[in-house]
């Protein structure tokens, strides 16, 4: 009996031993991750992963999206294992160039939609491991010094009082910023959506060339209000900066993704890392005050501190818009280029037009006569329209001019030709709008 027990114990011990050794062997000694995330996010995850899989080292290579894509493209003969970043556009580029591999996670209990935005790539090349909502971040000292009220809704940002106080990052430079623009365009419709964007644009102090440029400037107090992803605002506040963050009632939800690179050297470890991100313990790391992202695992929200936003139950987060990913994809590059032509690169002209409109409206007050009202309406229209229609924007021939040329595609022109046309359209309209608003001021 005793002998039998000993033997059984020995057997069990042997089993465990062989299991652990197989385990350690099977996932490999390292996993190489290319990421654009900050240390605040990557370190807790790699520490926890290495703890769970002793013997496997996480090698993190920090690169911005552009450098990451170029690196993965140029090293495809022997690439890193994982690409881990926010920007859905970067994943799309990698996918189109066959630089990612399909992977179906085994983890269960995950939501597949945050708000109405699909979390995972429908084709299975990358998965969302967290989500974030867009909102408004402001510097409280700046607001007090300039006696500005706190903005609550997107429409508040159109108000003349915020002229020159708002910042945003260009959608061409930030995949998450692009999703916000696209959400507004789909939610309000092409023409009305652009009118909103350009009118808010009239109040921009700056259009930054990188996502982090906006929270950076608000943190310093360079300008007061930034349109940013929630964790930029929330983590800055947690680091002690005098800033606040609010979600407007309707907000855009953007995912943060992870994908395994095609021909990854450390396939097993890469899969283990993806599974770890989606696991209960991995998801819980997202609640860290320095990270503050929204988990995609329903049960993790039970452990979140009170007041933590929950897009799965809170329907106002990204729910009002039913997001059409096909429309978005078809006009992706075109929307980015259009935004840069009519807002980013002509910001000075746009600011001048809206300043003139605001000034005239303020001066005339309610006493404007019909002629002044007509001129102002005309000016507003000129300072908020785009040179092409929704239909044209989704026309494959036009949208195709902004994409890499496919074999049998016939683009309607070169990107440079469209851009020149749009640029002159914007310059002319903004100058006319300014002139009309000034004329209206004299029409009293």
């Amino acid at each position: 009996m005793a002998q039998k027990l000993t033997r059984r114990l020995l057997l069990a011990a042997a089993c465990t031993l062989s299991a652990t050794s197989v385990f350690a062997q099977s996932i490999g000694d390292k996993v190489i991750i290319v990421t654009s995330f900050s240390k605040d996010l990557t370190t807790p995850f790699s520490v926890a992963f290495e703890k769970k899989y002793p013997g496997t080292k996480v090698e993190v290579q920090n690169r911005n999206s552009a450098a990451a894509i170029a690196f993965i493209r140029e090293t495809r003969s022997s690439p890193p294992d994982i690409f881990w970043a926010s920007a859905p556009d970067a994943f799309e580029v990698l996918k189109k160039n066959s630089l990612l591999q399909k992977y179906q996670p085994k983890a269960q209990g995950l939501t597949d939609k945050v708000g109405t935005y699909p979390v995972n790539d429908p084709a299975g090349y990358y998965v969302g491991f967290a989500a974030s909502g867009y909102g408004i971040m402001y510097n409280t000292r700046y607001m007090r010094a300039n006696s500005l009220p706190a903005p609550k809704e997107w429409d508040d940002l159109k108000k003349p009082i915020y002229f020159g106080h708002v910042g945003f990052s260009a959608p061409s430079r930030s995949g998450t910023s692009h999703l916000t623009v696209e959400t507004i365009l789909q939610g309000e419709g092409w023409d009305k959506g652009w009118a909103t964007l350009i009118e808010i644009g009239g109040n921009f102090q700056q259009v930054s060339d990188r996502s982090f440029g906006v929270p950076d400037a608000v943190n310093s107090g360079q300008y007061g209000i930034g349109i940013v992803i929630d964790f930029f605002g929330l983590s800055a506040k947690a680091s002690g900066f005098p800033v606040e963050f609010v979600y407007p009632t309707v907000t855009a939800i953007v995912p943060a993704n992870v994908g395994i690179i095609a021909n990854a050297k450390n396939q097993k470890a890469a899969e283990a890392f993806v599974e770890f991100l989606l696991s209960e313990e991995g998801q819980q790391i997202l609640l860290d005050p320095k990270i503050q992202r929204l988990p995609v695992r329903q049960s993790t929200y039970a452990k979140a501190p009170a007041g933590y936003p929950n897009p799965i139950t809170d329907k106002s987060l990204g729910a009002k818009v039913s997001f059409n990913a096909d429309v978005s994809e078809g006009r992706y590059e075109l929307v980015n280029s259009l935004f840069d032509r009519v807002i980013t690169f002509r910001l000075k002209e746009l600011n001048a037009a809206w300043k003139a409109i605001h000034d005239t409206e303020k001066r005339l007050g309610t006493g404007a006569n019909a002629e002044a009202k007509r001129l102002l309406a005309e000016a507003r229209k000129l300072a908020s329209s785009v040179p092409i229609t929704a239909k044209e924007a989704s026309d494959p021939a036009i949208a195709g001019s902004f994409q890499e040329v496919k074999k049998d595609a016939k683009p309607a022109g070169r990107q440079a030709e469209f851009e020149e046309r749009w640029d002159s359209f914007a310059v002319k309209n903004y100058a006319e709008a300014k002139a009309l608003a000034e004329k209206a001021a004299g029409a009293k």
Partner: protein, 577 residues
């Protein structure tokens, strides 16, 4: 003179003698050309070929037509020219007085002042931008104080004038370094003769000193022009997009856009930079700056009376205070807790240094190693090339020189992609590691992009050295090698040092190529460490701490270099009391 010299030794190498060159010189030129082909031309061509490709894949210049048809880009072109030219003016206003004072008068710790004069070149990525905004920005220290006291602000950091202001603060050391090197090469006998003939004060400066130092000034000014014309960091910091470099950058780095225009702009920028450099050569053409007498190194130094001393010191201190203000900002950022919409940080801490303490060691070690090697490569190649260009008539030497100069206009990202594309599949023997991701590739990327600095400095130095000194030595029986090591190199020390320091200091904060080529964190230089921290609000303090460490590391290395030069110069210099 030189034709006689070459006629003296027709037997040795009849073919090369026609070009007034020895086999060793021809070999040196070939080696430099090979280096440039391997690490500049091939990688570059593999990337920018799309600028010349039509949508169907054939050769085409249509994109260049588009460039000139696009009003935004035409505007950007003129803006870039305007900013570059104005920056030369403003930078000269800072650098020329400083260089003259330093060369003319006795100062305790001239090496220290020279070092502080170089520091503005070391602007750590991101951290420098944040600090500039916190000091000079719309709600920076100065404007908050002005606004509280007088109710107005000065838009230091807005529009094209803002770019000129920041660029001048950043790049005036190019002029300072090269002009100082030139001034220290002027023979004091020249000046004494002029004084004996009655020249004093401004006449002496404008008729004798400045013309003789012209090669150094022109070299520095041309570098400032070209660097500012191609500079990306400052327009991005000020969010001015209507210039060529940011337009090219935004096109090239925007995810998912396959627009060739970014590369077209790069090609045009390279063309303009070469044009500017050639223009600077034309300015100097037909004039002889070389002096044969080597009685004394540099202008005669004077001791100032107490009044003059005070004025000079105040002038130097004020200049340094203005030009170093971004670095004071970085320092405050690194010891501050939170600094937001305020004149100064809320409170002070050393916590950020504790945070970076452990990783700073390897980062600094890597930076010094990579940038030191890059600077060394640059000085060797730059001096070789300058010598071959000015002293021989080998065919193709001007072309090689221009190729080397074109590196100044190449965006780091473009060179990085090109190097990866060309060398990633070349595996090292033994380890099997890819050649493109070995740390030495970073050294090469830095060296290639900074080569124009060292080349310009070496050329300016050699221009002041009369060929008859070398011929005299040869006539006395010295071989080519001993002429080089005993005559040429020692007399060029100042210029070579200026070249090394500029290459080294600017490479220490290079980000774009670094971000692409670093494959392992243990191999990373300090710029990478700063980038990693500066992606989050909590990382601002530690990022600034690393920035301060980078600046101090460069400062110490530069100081040592100047100390050595000062000792050399002390041996040559005569003093007048």
């Amino acid at each position: 003179m030189s034709s006689i010299a070459s006629a003296d030794r027709p037997a040795r190498a009849p073919f090369l003698a026609r070009y007034n060159a020895s086999p060793a010189q021809a070999l040196a030129l070939a080696a430099v050309a090979l280096f440039l082909i391997a690490f500049l031309i091939v990688p570059l061509v593999r990337v920018i070929v799309v600028a010349f490709t039509d949508p169907g894949g054939g050769f085409s210049l249509v994109h260049f037509g588009d460039f000139f048809r696009t009003s935004l880009l035409r505007e950007a072109f003129w803006n870039s020219l305007y900013v570059a030219a104005m920056t030369v003016v403003v930078a000269s206003l800072i650098a020329v007085p400083l260089a003259t004072i330093l060369a003319r008068f006795h100062f305790r710790g001239a090496a220290l002042i020279h070092t502080l004069g170089v520091i503005p070149l070391v602007m750590p990525p991101f951290v420098g931008a944040v600090a500039m905004q916190l000091i000079y920005g719309r709600n920076g220290t100065i404007n908050l104080i002005l606004n509280d006291a007088f109710g107005f602000r000065i838009p230091f950091m807005e529009g094209l004038n803002g770019v000129i202001f920041v660029e001048a603060l950043h790049y005036f050391p190019f002029i300072l370094l090269n002009l100082s090197a030139s001034l220290s090469n002027i023979d004091s006998a020249m000046e004494e003769s002029a004084q004996n003939l009655g020249a004093r004060g401004f006449t002496l400066f404008s008729r004798i000193v400045f013309p003789l130092a012209l090669p150094g000034y022109v070299a520095g000014a041309a570098l400032v022009f070209v660097k500012v014309f191609d500079d990306l960091a400052t327009p991005l910091l000020l969010n001015v997009t209507s210039m060529l470099a940011p337009q090219a950058y935004l096109k090239i780095t925007t995810v998912g856009i396959a627009d060739p225009m970014g590369y077209v702009i790069s090609v045009i920028m390279i063309g303009c930079s070469l044009g500017a450099m050639m223009l600077s050569v034309l300015v100097l053409r037909g004039r002889d700056f070389a002096t044969t007498q080597r009685g004394g190194g540099g202008l005669s130094r004077r001791r100032l009376g107490p009044g003059g001393n005070a004025v000079a010191i105040v002038l130097v201190i004020v200049t340094l205070l203005i030009t170093l203000s971004p670095h004071i900002g970085i320092f405050l950022l690194s010891i501050g807790t939170v600094w937001s919409f305020a004149e100064l940080p809320d409170a002070y801490t050393i916590q950020h240094y504790v945070t970076v303490y452990r990783e700073a060691g390897p980062l600094i070690g890597n930076t010094i190693l990579y940038c030191g090697l890059a600077g060394l490569i640059d000085v060797i190649i730059g001096a070789t090339l300058a010598y071959v260009v000015l002293r021989t008539r080998l065919p193709g030497r001007r072309l090689v020189e221009q190729v080397a100069m074109s590196a100044v206009a190449i965006p780091g990202l473009v060179l990085g992609i090109g190097l990866l594309r060309t060398y990633y599949d070349v595996k090292l023997p033994f380890s099997g590691e890819s050649l493109a991701t070995v740390w030495f590739m970073l050294v090469i990327a830095y060296a290639v992009r900074r080569l124009p600095y060292a080349l310009t400095a070496a050329t300016a130095a050699l221009r002041q050295l009369h060929v008859s000194l070398e011929e005299a030595a040869e006539n006395l029986g010295a071989g080519k090698l001993s002429v080089l090591s005993r005559i040429v190199v020692p007399l060029m020390t100042g210029g070579l040092l200026a070249g090394f320091v500029t290459s080294f200091a600017t490479a220490a904060v290079e980000l774009s190529a670094t971000l692409l080529l670093v494959a392992r964190a243990p191999d990373a230089p300090i710029a990478y460490g700063i980038y990693v921290y500066m992606q989050s609000a909590a990382g601002r303090g530690p990022g600034a701490a690393l920035g301060v460490i980078a600046v101090i590391a460069v400062a110490i290395a530069t100081y040592l270099a100047f100390k050595i030069a000062e000792r050399e110069r002390g041996l040559k210099s005569r003093e007048l009391f």
